[in-house]
């Protein structure tokens, strides 16, 4: 069992250089067996949250519970938690076998034979059976990563914590290990909290993603929901690669007009969307469109197109990423391989109203996704998802 509750958890660093709020009033529930990924830019508080859960950082305010029991003041060893660090943190003076067995020796009453059996079994499962008598210094990065994961698995804890465990691996190995971690989780179904700044890692691994920024929870939800219905401008910008196109617009009747130096385009919206937008009571918006939702607009109705000059064409094999300049703003278009315009060429593109995300320019909160109303403020979204759990 390993259901986790963060109840108004706050972390404040107070030193001679000033006060920094690393995590602010985090409310979040994680179900037993769930794979939750904390994602966000550097300094967003994701690692601090993980370390507070592990007991490696004190909690300034609030309570953390595992299976309903408050663990906020418990020592790390009494929390039934195993953690994989970015640097692996293997004991360099111990063999792989001893590294894996150490936690069991210290924290359980198991016999040496039983410990050895579990270590061997786990090592076989991780594909490191032949490395058991080697020291970490003689292993490659990928092997060390496997040992670190094996060391956590062999403990059979209530909760696994991963703090950017794949960041030190090369791209190919990272993808491979990602798949392995997903398989291990499917097999063991132990509650896992995983911290990464890599949104692709977050999307592929998570049952739910929790997006953090500036110590505040921005949104929590299944990957598809976070991608398709970002709660605010930050989430929309952070999730997705290449990132979403954003253009500052002003509502003018049934037109969203570009706020640029040239004011040379506007986008005509339907009555339904205009109504939602009017209800929000704001006139200044950011319109967001994902590059993959943009398409060539030669046959699109007038008033629904954007004309831009091709600045860069990136050929990535499966697609072409085309960067357009329109009204002083950059517009990214993920095009099929056959669309490969020359630099300087003028291209007309369009996007469906269903794919538009509108954000209040002041607060950054989502107002509408396509023709449906957004779920409310980001806080409301995160709390409602938490409450459903």
């Amino acid at each position: 069992m390993g259901a986790i509750d963060f109840d108004s958890v706050t972390k404040v660093y107070d030193d001679s250089s000033g006060t920094v709020v690393a995590v602010e009033e985090l409310d979040l529930s994680v179900e037993d067996g769930e794979f939750l990924v904390f994602v966000g830019p550097s300094g967003c508080g994701k690692s601090t949250t993980l370390r507070m859960l592990a007991g490696l950082e004190t909690v300034t305010d609030g309570t953390i519970r595992i299976d309903g029991e408050a663990i906020t003041d418990k020592a790390p060893k009494d929390r039934d938690i195993a953690m994989v660090f970015q640097s692996y943190a293997l004991y360099p003076h111990k063999t792989v076998r001893d590294n894996m067995a150490y936690g069991l020796k210290l924290s359980t009453d198991l016999t040496d034979e039983e410990i050895d059996r579990r270590v061997t079994e786990t090592a076989e499962m991780m594909g490191i059976g032949d490395l058991l008598d080697k020291k970490p210094g003689s292993l490659s990065g990928g092997q060390q990563q496997r040992v670190a994961t094996g060391r956590a698995i062999v403990r059979e804890p209530a909760v696994f914590l991963f703090d950017e465990p794949l960041s030190n691996l090369d791209a190919k190995l990272r993808k491979h290990m990602r798949t392995e971690l997903a398989q291990i989780h499917n097999e063991l179904r132990i509650t896992t909290i995983y911290v990464t700044h890599d949104q692709e890692e977050a999307m592929t691994l998570a049952d739910r993603i929790a997006v953090l920024n500036g110590g505040e929870l921005q949104q929590v939800g299944p990957p598809k929901q976070v991608y398709a219905r970002p709660a605010n401008h930050f989430v929309a910008d952070f999730i997705g690669s290449p990132s979403m196109n954003f253009v500052d617009v002003t509502l003018d009747g049934q037109h969203l007009r570009l706020d640029g130096p040239d004011d040379d385009w506007s986008y005509e919206v339907s009555d339904g969307l205009a109504e939602i937008v009017a209800d929000a009571g704001v006139t200044e918006y950011i319109i967001g469109v994902r590059p993959e939702d943009v398409r060539l607009g030669d046959d699109a109705p007038a008033g629904k197109t954007v004309e831009g000059t091709v600045e860069v064409v990136e050929v990535v094999g499966s697609d072409n990423f085309i960067y357009l300049e329109s009204g002083g703003q950059e517009f990214r278009y993920r095009a099929p391989t056959e669309v490969e315009p020359a630099v300087g060429e003028t291209l007309t593109v369009t996007f469906d109203e269903d794919h538009i995300h509108l954000f209040d320019r002041d607060s950054g909160e989502a107002v509408a996704h396509g023709t449906s109303e957004a779920d409310g403020s980001s806080r409301a979204v995160s709390r409602s998802v938490t409450a459903e759990d």
């Binding site: 060893k77 640097s87 692996y88």
Partner: protein
Amino acid sequence: MLNDTRRTRTLLYLGLGAIALWALLPYLWVLRTSFLDSFTAIDPNAPYLPSLDNFTLKSYGQVWSRFDFVTFFTNSIIVSLGATVISLAFAIPSAYAFARLDFPGRKLLFYTAVFTIMFPWIVLTIPVYEVFTWLNMINTLEAVIIALSIFTLPQAIWLLQGFFRQGIPENIEEAALLDGHSELTAFLRVVLPLSLPAVAAAGLFSFIIAWNNFLWVFILTTDKSQRTATVAIHYILGSDVMRQWNVLMASAVLLIVPPVIFYTLAQRYVGEGIGGGY
């Protein structure tokens, strides 16, 4: 091209050889003189490498038979080991605290400790003498041990805190905490074994400083029975009885032997310790 490289390398080795010879010459001269008979040792016409007939081990025998070098060396060993152990016993926890813990006045305390490394000991002789007189400890080996451990402590702290800060990743300690250790046992069972190279380096430096120390032994002891070998040689050199350079050099060679043995035993670790990694 190949010849150029070879020529450069030859010149480099010749240069290095010359510098090494220059540095080693005094030691070689001490070694040479210690093995000569009394007359050849002071004969200005003696060649740099005298004939084998003039070489003898007599001077080494005289060191032990004519002077109480057994006592002097025993005192040196007691004082040096005592100072090293006490210095490390205090340096290890304090260096760890400076490296890892955040407490008020940490920087001030640390820089004060480091500053004392640069402080010339000679200006402290009178206050230190007064303190030990007040403690009624003058003329005891304990006084010398305490004085030496205090004066070797800052350097040991400085060396060890650098290692704790850079040589032992914090994550390893954190992994130990999650594996079932308390903070104290994580330090004793995980950090300390990993820090052996640095502890060996700090211990070696403390031992050498204490072994070679002249000032505190000279200031704090007057009894012959409390002298260490370093001070004893000074008295022998200053006495009228002794102008036998071969015997003096033999005692100097004997003085060098223990630190060399100590270094040889510790050198496997020391390089790593100074390097700051494991």
